[in-house]
């Protein structure tokens, strides 16, 4: 247990609208080991980003609130910590990269200033040293002319460069955990590969655990050690990355993998999963995926499926495996 950097247990997060509580995350469970890359995949609206915001406890300006469960980070429960204690962890031990590098840097502050903000705040270095550290960080993320870049404004940099700056910022205090919320979605493919390569490199150097949120299964296959599949605010399947792609267990995972277009297939109509993620106010009874599932049985519509341990590294929440002999492994 202690080797886990982050352990999320039964996490439930809800928003309040018109005095009604709407639960978005309904019992999320997963854990990340030191130096591991965990992929968090699922459609839009499945609660991936909210999971990351819950871990960071960044609900500011919204009615979002963790109502149940625990988030153990380095052995401490974040849900029981005060705002100021969490602030000391944010940026130092746990940092985040956002989807949009174009907007995640403040346009009116110079790159160096933004980078040094975090360094001065957490490492308490004097100004020259923190500038030196900032330049070093920029060099680490492959920015050659780091000495000049720190005096430039974000609009003078390309998207890929900005994402590098964001990564440098996030890695500045050598965090134990890096949450990357679709870090390459807004970038073009060649830059995407560079950024992913860079994250991998930094992970290996610093033994940082990475929670990689994405809906790009190609990125998952490339990067991740293990994968957690989320649907409608719950984890439906957790597996080693090779196992997952070789034999997806949950019908939702199977659907996701089948939806990836393959080069050379020449299909007129691409495969997809029918329907949409149900809205949180209007969740179906039983398994939340049942209305869209092509293997749904009558029990699926009545009762939520249990989480079945298929092997030591694999879990799946589906009635298909609850009744069968779960020892059989594909």
């Amino acid at each position: 247990m202690s080797e886990h950097v982050l352990r999320v247990t039964d996490l439930e997060t809800s928003f309040t609208r018109d005095k009604k509580e709407i639960k978005i995350l309904r019992g999320v469970n997963f854990a990340i080991r030191k130096g591991e890359i965990l992929g968090l995949v699922g459609e839009s609206g499945s609660g991936k980003s909210l999971t990351s915001l819950s871990i960071m406890q960044l609900f500011h300006g919204t009615t979002g609130k963790i109502v149940n469960g625990s988030i153990h980070f380095n052995g401490e429960d974040l849900t029981k910590m005060s705002e100021s204690a969490i602030r000391k962890i944010r940026g130092k031990q746990m940092a985040m990269i956002f989807q949009e590098p174009m907007t995640s840097l403040n346009p009116v502050l110079k790159i160096g200033k933004q980078l040094m903000e975090a360094i001065e705040m957490h490492l308490k270095l004097p100004k020259n040293e923190s500038r030196h550290h900032a330049i070093q960080m920029l060099k680490n993320v492959g920015i050659g002319r780091a000495e000049e870049i720190i005096y430039e404004y974000p609009h003078q940099l390309s998207g890929g460069m900005r994402q590098r700056v964001m990564i440098a910022m996030a890695m500045a205090c050598h965090p134990n955990l890096l949450i990357a919320d679709e870090p390459t979605t807004a970038l073009d493919v060649t830059i995407q590969a560079q950024i992913l390569e860079l994250m991998k490199k930094l992970k290996e150097e610093n033994e940082t655990a990475i929670l990689l949120i994405t809906h790009d299964l190609g990125v998952v296959a490339e990067m991740c050690d293990r994968v957690v599949v989320m649907y409608a605010g719950q984890v439906v399947e957790e597996a080693d990355v090779f196992e997952l792609f070789a034999s997806p267990k949950h019908p939702y995972t199977q659907g996701l993998i089948a939806s990836v277009p393959k080069i050379g297939d020449n299909k007129e109509i691409l495969d997809s999963i029918n329907g949409q993620v149900p809205s949180p106010q209007n969740m179906p009874n039983g398994c939340k995926f049942a209305p869209r599932c092509n293997q749904a049985m009558s029990v699926c519509h009545e009762e939520s499926p249990p989480t079945v341990n298929i092997s030591t590294t694999r879990q799946c929440s589906c009635w298909l495996y609850a009744t069968k002999d779960v020892k059989v492994n594909a």
Partner: protein, 298 residues
């Protein structure tokens, strides 16, 4: 012939040229002729306000019973008032009072209003409701009436005029800044700063407040004009500066009995107030054209 390397070097140098927001601002601001002229006028007025007592041709308080209510002439550029005091000298010395009152009132209103607006917009919820509803209450009174009521409560005097003008400036500032804050806090970089462990104060000061600046600068210049009018109005009503002070509103007020016979006694301070307020508004308009991104690209 230029070798490929030198071409590359010059390109690199070109992209490295220092970007200066002020230079860019100045480039477009100097195209606004009216605003430019107005800024020169205000600049001169500020200089005059500082050195006024030293350059005034006559003592602004010294009566001269040989020259009562004289019209403008070479010796008295703006004529003399009912005590024979030189109006031009009084206007010059009075510039200091008018500018001081309006600047300090607007500045205090700006600080208080900005803080309230930032808090209101950033934290939302019940704090927002309390601040905004209080502003609505203040908004429901006409500006000058509110100022009169405040001065009536506190007693007449320049300092109380400053307080009164400040109080009716606060809600406008608060509302403006709140709007800009609501916009600014949606930016991903605000969330990014929070995710790096920045405190609320830091986020507000470093990431949200700068976003409200361009709107604030415009509004401040506009507001100074209004403040001068309000302060003069209060003095005119006898609620501001004491009657012997060379305050423009006071001069207007004491001269109004002679409007029929020697109109210059009223016209001269009137022109001073008019030009100053106009100049501030012109600057405000010019700044808006330059700084407001919605107008900028047209």
């Amino acid at each position: 012939m230029t070798s490929p390397t030198t071409v590359q070097n010059s390109q690199v140098q070109h992209t490295q040229r220092k970007y200066s927001p002020f230079k860019e601002f100045w480039k477009s601001f100097k195209k606004q002729k009216a605003a430019l002229l107005a800024s020169i006028f205000i600049g001169l007025l500020i200089v005059v306000a500082f050195i006024g007592p030293y350059i005034a041709p006559y003592d602004p308080f010294e009566p001269n019973y040989d020259a009562l209510l004289e019209g403008p002439s070479a010796s008295h550029l703006a004529g003399t008032d009912e005590y024979g005091r030189d109006i031009f000298s009084r206007l010059i010395v009075g510039a200091k009072i008018s500018l001081m009152v309006s600047f300090s009132a607007v500045f205090l209103g700006l600080i208080l209003g900005t803080i309230l607006g930032l808090i209101s917009g950033y934290f939302g919820g019940w704090i927002d409701k309390i601040i905004m509803r209080s502003c609505d209450v203040l908004f429901s009174f006409p500006d000058l009436l509110l100022a009169i009521a405040i001065v009536a409560l506190l007693g007449p005097g320049i300092n109380n005029v400053i307080i009164a003008v400040m109080i009716f400036s606060v809600p406008s500032f608060a509302r403006l800044v709140r709007g800009a804050t609501l916009n600014a806090k949606e930016n991903v970089y605000v969330e990014a700063a929070q995710s790096m462990g920045a405190s609320h104060v830091r986020v507000l000061w470093k990431h949200i407040f700068p976003e409200t600046m361009s709107e604030l600068i415009i509004f401040v210049t506009m507001r100074i004009g209004t403040a001068i009018l309000a302060a003069s109005g209060l003095s005119f009503l006898g609620l501001g500066a004491s009657p012997e002070m060379p305050e423009w509103g006071v001069m207007l007020s004491s001269g109004r009995d002679y409007l029929g016979t020697s109109s210059h006694v009223v016209i001269m301070p009137g022109i001073a107030i008019f030009l100053t307020v106009l100049a501030f508004n012109l600057i405000g308009d010019g700044l808006r054209d330059v700084l407001d991104p919605k107008i900028k690209n047209n």
